[in-house]
Symmetry: C2
């Protein structure tokens, strides 16, 4: 028991040990298990808190610059607030820096942090610097929200429409291309490497969708489409039936060219920062208008017993709860 290493244990078990130990608090309106945490304030509002750490040895693909790396650390945090419909008010950064980094690397990191904060409209107001064996960029974001304003993972109801703000698979195809050094035409390589190096958080879209009043639940897709659907299913105690997997054009072309399954690239990838939402059926057009067309239905919320599955000609196929999990290799 006590001798099991994290490699056998897997990330989920680690998270469960921490959650069980740290428990719940009456102060926490939202605790562990959603994209963000939220704490009651005396004035009836809530403080929204988020922290997400980027680690060099596991989260930085080959060829990514320091500027892109630091920007991505911020994007990952902003995306979680975007999914809840909340605008970040201020950010903090704690850095772990290998001693062999050079001055230009620090300028790159600083530039990436500044650029991302500007891109999403909030100031970085403080931080902490440390020496570390592994490049570490830990971002913490702070926001204020009305208590009923947050779109949680737990609000999906049977009959709701499941919809996404983008197509999936480019990041995992891009990562595969980078790691396995596949040759490919530039026309295809560019959108794939863009998806890896310069992901975007859908902050404006998330704010507009939340404000529409049409959403019942929302999650960001950073852990992969399949994983995030399972998280919605767990948190809302519902099932989800997907009619079709929203695969990006680039991922489809990559899959055809390099003989892998396009659906797998889209379902079991990660590091893609789209939003996955559930929408009241009678308000779908409202949500679509709020998203200015950038919202596509992919399925429907079903009873919990149906699980998470993909509709196919020969009957529904279960979608595995797979995605990127740390420690397991």
């Amino acid at each position: 028991m006590g001798l099991t290493s994290l490699r056998e244990l897997g990330e989920l078990k680690v998270i469960r040990i921490l959650e069980r130990s740290l428990g719940t608090s009456p102060l926490a309106v939202v605790g562990f298990g959603d994209d963000i945490s939220a704490v009651k304030l005396p004035n009836g509002k809530v403080a929204v808190l988020k922290t997400d750490m980027l680690v060099g040895s596991t989260d930085v693909p080959p060829g990514m610059t320091m500027r892109q790396t630091a920007r991505k650390a911020v994007v990952a945090n902003v995306s979680d607030l975007a999914a809840k419909g909340v605008r970040p008010l201020a950010g903090m950064v704690a850095l772990g820096l290998p001693a062999n980094l050079r001055e230009q690397d620090i300028h790159g990191i600083a530039g990436g942090l500044r650029g991302a904060a500007k891109e999403y409209g909030f100031p970085m107001v403080g931080g902490d610097t440390n020496e570390s064996k592994d490049l570490t960029i830990s971002i913490a974001l702070f926001a204020i929200a009305g208590r009923g304003q947050l779109i949680l993972r737990s609000g999906a109801r049977i009959g709701d429409i499941v919809a996404v703000t983008g197509e999936f698979g480019s990041a995992s195809a891009g990562l595969k291309a980078l790691l396995e050094k596949k040759v490919r035409p530039k026309r295809l390589a560019r959108p794939l490497s863009q998806a890896v190096y310069n992901p975007r958080a859908e902050l404006d879209l998330g704010l507009r969708l939340a404000a529409s009043g049409a959403l019942t639940a929302s999650i960001d897709s950073s852990d992969g489409l399949a994983w995030s659907l399972h998280e919605l299913s767990r948190a809302s105690a519902i099932g989800i039936r997907i009619d079709r997997v929203p695969v990006s054009k680039a991922a489809r072309e990559f899959a055809a060219r390099y003989r892998c399954k396009a659906n797998d690239l889209a379902l079991y990838g990660g590091e893609e920062y789209h939003l996955i939402v559930t929408v009241k059926p009678d308000k779908f057009s409202l949500a679509r208008r709020a998203a200015r067309g950038r919202l596509r239905p992919i399925g429907v919320v079903t009873p919990r017993s149906s699980g998470v599955c993909l509709r196919q000609a020969r009957g529904d196929a279960k979608i595995a709860m797979k995605g990127w999990e740390h420690f397991r290799r």
Copy 2:
């Protein structure tokens, strides 16, 4: 220039590059350069934000358990809020965990986090788990304060009394003992290792001192007594003259036994979480009462041109701006 490594650059230069790049914001009542950051809220209050990262390879002395390590990561953050007179409302934790850690290590970390949060009376409401080559515990704290309530580093005025809430040197003597494996009697070894393994943040004391209305400035001493005095001097644009260095009994005994300078242990150590405050001269007895006797004067605030110095029989001696700095070895 761009080829200078962090080892040559030093931590201060790194921090300066980051601060200059991230700049200031009209929203930030307190930005970089104090123990915490603070952001204006619409209701006239401020949100207090703090993040401080503990890194295994540089911040964990030999023999420290996972539980003690995780607790210390929290203590370091709480201490900064204590210095400002603010009670933490909620905490977040981002972890970087080496894959060879064992399940019992995770239980130790979880227990240390839980214990520390309970010790200082706030809930840990969320977090993030990652794989890393270097054990990393990044804590973020959140609090709410009145705008005038924060005791900053910048408020010291000429003639104020400089005072501390504890004696210094036990942690650096303890670390020296651990690293150089010196033999020593148990009676001496115990307070030294306690200072290293189980430091305390002076939260209650900090809250009471701030509430007394007698303080003009405050800083926590985690970067060492000398370093912190220089920080007060820089932030308040004043000088400081110390009448005597407050050396702990254990540090004095260690110094005598192992032939090192007791004053140096106390001045140039670090990882000791006392508070260093400046007090209005006519309110010192008020402050002392608030601290229930645990406040001792060590010197006085002087004009900036006098610098930071120690009064000695043969005239004032400059106190060097030295302390623990990452990257330089």
